[in-house]
């Protein structure tokens, strides 16, 4: 009997996995890639390399994706459809780079100031979307999304004109002072940015599971009507949650600047779709906080693995995006009740 029950629970997942595998296989056959080399290339690209260089690249990417995932998870759990993580990330990255370039002073102080500036910029950008929803009736879903574009172009302008490193010939800012660069873990090429992500994750876990504030926002997410009826300050909770979300997204921008690129390069936070990958990383695990870093690592590995597959078997690495989308499509239908569209619509009339 028990075995029969387990079978029935497991079978849909097996079928789902087979579907996903079949689609990936079809794409590989379409480009005529040698399958063995493609698979070993994937493995190498995600976890291998000389002295695990590629594994380090995966971890470095994990830091950014998980950070963005934690950021949106806090909003989503509170029932807030903040899909403007990209704008908050860009605001943070730009603020971090400009602060470090313009502010004189001891490096450590500059670094701290730049990280705080990044968090503030991200928080303010998220708050703007919240204010538009609460006081103007603009649905957060589209409001937060549309706010991605102005800040994207603003950042692009900043590093194309006033703050451009002209001699480099690229659309990018000057380098931030070398003393502010995040250190590498001894003997590796992995910067300590991932520690910031771990701290943000730890904060999110404690916040979600053990604080009254986190509990209240969760209530708001499960039923805004209930939260309002029992007298929770829904507006304040909304703004505070968005500010925390935005601050974490801003922090991720700072990690990318000080840990990886050491400057702001046009498109460096937009093109890799960190914010969108963060969103799907949260959706994959149904917004369960402790599982988010695993999911972030998984999607980072899909991306670096795809790059490895391109090197080894000539498969365009954009296959990663297709794989991610397909996984989410199949999982979205399996994880029921993860989100509720009715709440998310938020016409501003509620």
């Amino acid at each position: 009997m028990a075995a029969h029950g387990t079978m029935r629970a497991v079978l849909p997942w097996v079928i789902t996995l087979l579907w996903i595998a079949a689609i990936i296989l079809a794409l590989l056959l379409f480009v005529g890639a040698p399958l063995g080399e493609a698979l070993s290339g994937f493995w190498q690209g995600a976890f291998g390399g000389r002295r695990h260089a590629y594994l380090m690249a995966t971890l470095s990417r994990t830091a950014l994706i998980t950070g963005m995932a934690i950021s949106v998870m806090l909003s989503f759990r509170a029932g807030l459809f903040n899909i403007g993580g990209e704008g908050q990330l860009v605001a943070g990255g730009l603020a971090a780079a400009l602060t470090a370039i313009l502010l004189p002073g001891p490096p450590l102080l500059v670094l701290v100031a730049a990280i705080l500036a990044a968090m503030l910029a991200g928080a303010l950008w998220a708050l703007l979307a919240g204010v538009l929803q609460l006081y103007m009736g603009v649905p957060l879903l589209v409001g937060s999304l549309l706010l991605n574009y102005p800040v994207r172009y603003l950042a692009s302008y900043a590093v194309a004109h006033p703050f451009r490193d002209v001699p480099s010939g690229m659309v990018q800012s000057h380098l931030v002072p070398q003393e502010t660069w995040l250190a590498y873990f001894p003997g590796t090429r992995l910067d300590i940015g991932i520690l910031f992500t771990l701290a943000a994750t730890a904060f999110a876990l404690v916040y979600s599971y053990w604080t009254v504030h986190g509990y209240h926002t969760r209530l708001n997410g499960l039923s805004a009507d209930f939260a309002r009826t029992v007298g929770l300050p829904v507006r304040r909770l909304t703004l505070q949650t968005l500010a925390i979300s935005g601050a974490i997204a801003g922090l991720v921008g700072a990690i990318a600047v000080f840990g990886i690129h050491h400057r702001y390069i046009d498109g460096m936070l937009v093109q890799p779709l960190y914010a969108w990958t963060g969103i799907i990383a949260v959706l994959l695990v149904g917004m369960v906080p402790w599982a988010v870093p695993l999911s972030g690592f998984f999607f980072a590995a899909v991306q670096t693995g795809a790059a490895g597959m391109e090197r080894a078997a000539g498969v365009p690495k954009e296959i990663a995006l297709v794989i991610q989308a397909v996984i989410i499509l199949f999982v979205a239908s399996r994880v029921s009740g993860a989100l509720s569209s009715k709440e998310g619509r938020g016409d501003g009339h509620a």
Partner: protein, 304 residues
Amino acid sequence: MLDLLLDPSFAASIPRFVTPILLAALGGALCERAGVFNIALEGFLLTGAFAAVLGAYYSGTPYLGAAAAMAAGMAMGLVFAEFNLRRDGDAIVVSIAINLLAAGLTTFLLRAIFNVTGAFSDPAIVGFGAIRLPLIEDIPVLGPMLSGQSILFYAALASVPVLHVFLARHRLGLRIRAAGENAEALRAGGVSPRRVQLLALVGCGALCGLGGAQLSIANVNLFVENMSAGRGWIAVVAVLLTRGRPWPLFCIALLFGAVDSLSFRVQGMGLAQQFTDMMPYLATLTVLIVLSWWRARRARGDVS
């Protein structure tokens, strides 16, 4: 500034920007009225733009390009239906996934089929030409706007009254509205709401596909990665603001398209490109804020 607005070439460029937004928004309206929360218009548009280039390149005629774009859009509509309607996945999650799928699939196929990254242009991509309307083209201001456009613009224009009448009078149109407003009544009448919603999604895909074709084989003759560039989201806003009613939708699309076109025009006037690129989104946000605020105020007024 006035000179600029009266410039015939400005008027002539407006439809190029209106068409993709209008077609995508009309598709979105079908879904909205059918009660399907489809915010994957961006992905549908992008898919259409790519398929149009694919079709035009291999067939040598833009008409088969447009047909391919419609087919690809409809296929995306079916994917949406499969995961949202049949497998009961959340509409927002499915939309986000489809937007990513479209971005991934188009860049992947761009490299797999044409072996290029970033953009694909080739003399073999035959685009739609301009259609001149003999008498109309002599009307001042309106003439250059109405004449000399691609056939897709005229199709989009015609779609507005057609969709209006379709939703108001046609049996399927009534069923679509019933699916959105009172699915129980529809079910009681022996019609499956999901079937109706599936048809709405397929129709939406076809319209968005045509919108994508305007982007890639009417405005230009090439495909650029992510060339929909947020226009699908602007269409989503238009649908949201008008609750999917065709005529108001037309006005909003006209406004957004005009701003889009204006931003293109002022690029030559010394304003940095990043600021002109920003204009359509700022305009959309502004309209969204003003209308939402006005509505929220009126809603409060009704209560008291």
